[in-house]
Assembly symmetry: C2
Homo-oligomer: 151 residues x 2
């Protein structure tokens, strides 16, 4: 079991490197050193929002090897229920198939239960069939279509 903890400002470059090192992420991220300020600005907004939990997972040498963002959203629906939403999941390329994604999800699902969410939800790009299989293996049901309108 690796250690999962809250993301600190110092972790942001390692997270963005993982986001960018991906067939879809490489088209939309801007990873360079030093990292652009816009990523730090985004981190500050996430970090100061009590509904947001940006997590990292690290190996024995404290190297960041995975990340996941968990957001809580309050609705009137489901009798005034709160939803937990997972986004921006990445595991470092050198650490795949070691159960790290599974550990991150176990943490997120446990957090969601602790904080009394009634559902955990996420969307996954149809171009990632292997991700869909992974989520289904955790008990998620693909009951919905996920729609996007990009500006």
């Amino acid at each position: 079991m690796y250690k999962i903890r809250k993301c600190q400002k110092e972790d942001v470059p390692a997270i963005v490197a993982m986001l960018a090192n991906d067939k879809l992420g490489m088209l939309r991220e801007d990873y360079r050193e030093p990292l652009a300020q816009k990523y730090y600005d985004a981190f500050e907004k996430i970090d100061s929002d009590s509904n947001q939990q940006l997590a990292v997972i690290e190996d024995e040498r404290s190297k960041v090897i995975g990340t996941l963002q968990l957001s809580f959203i309050q609705y009137l629906t489901y009798q005034g229920g709160k939803r937990a939403q997972i986004e921006a999941v990445r595991v470092h390329k050198d650490y795949r198939n070691k159960g790290i994604g599974k550990q991150l999800f176990a943490w997120a699902i446990n957090e969601a239960k602790t904080k009394k969410a009634h559902v955990v939800q996420l969307t996954t790009d149809k171009k990632r069939p292997e991700a869909l299989k992974f989520y289904e293996s955790l008990g998620f049901k693909a009951s919905h279509e996920g729609l996007k309108l990009h500006f």
Copy 2:
């Protein structure tokens, strides 16, 4: 064109009545008069969160005939981008096919652009094929699977 405005506490029963008057909503809501406190508690949490906009649309006689919740979520992904998410859309049964949903979406998309979101996203239950068609007519692309894990 009907008037769209911020939801007030007094509108909550009318919204819950619409949420419950629906083939899926009737199974999960608890609409009775007086309305249960849990809905008002949820409203207070939404109302006090600057990332949340709960909107209602009203007719000429100030009757609430539709609702939509717009939430902004900050991520590191997409170069520190902010997403706008739409959920809990309902139009009163007596006011369907009058362009009210379209007007609510035009408002939400405009709000998302004004607040510099890079994408508007939503999920729709696969049991609502007519809703999917409506969203696609607005330009949304069903590029993702929407997964849920209910507790």
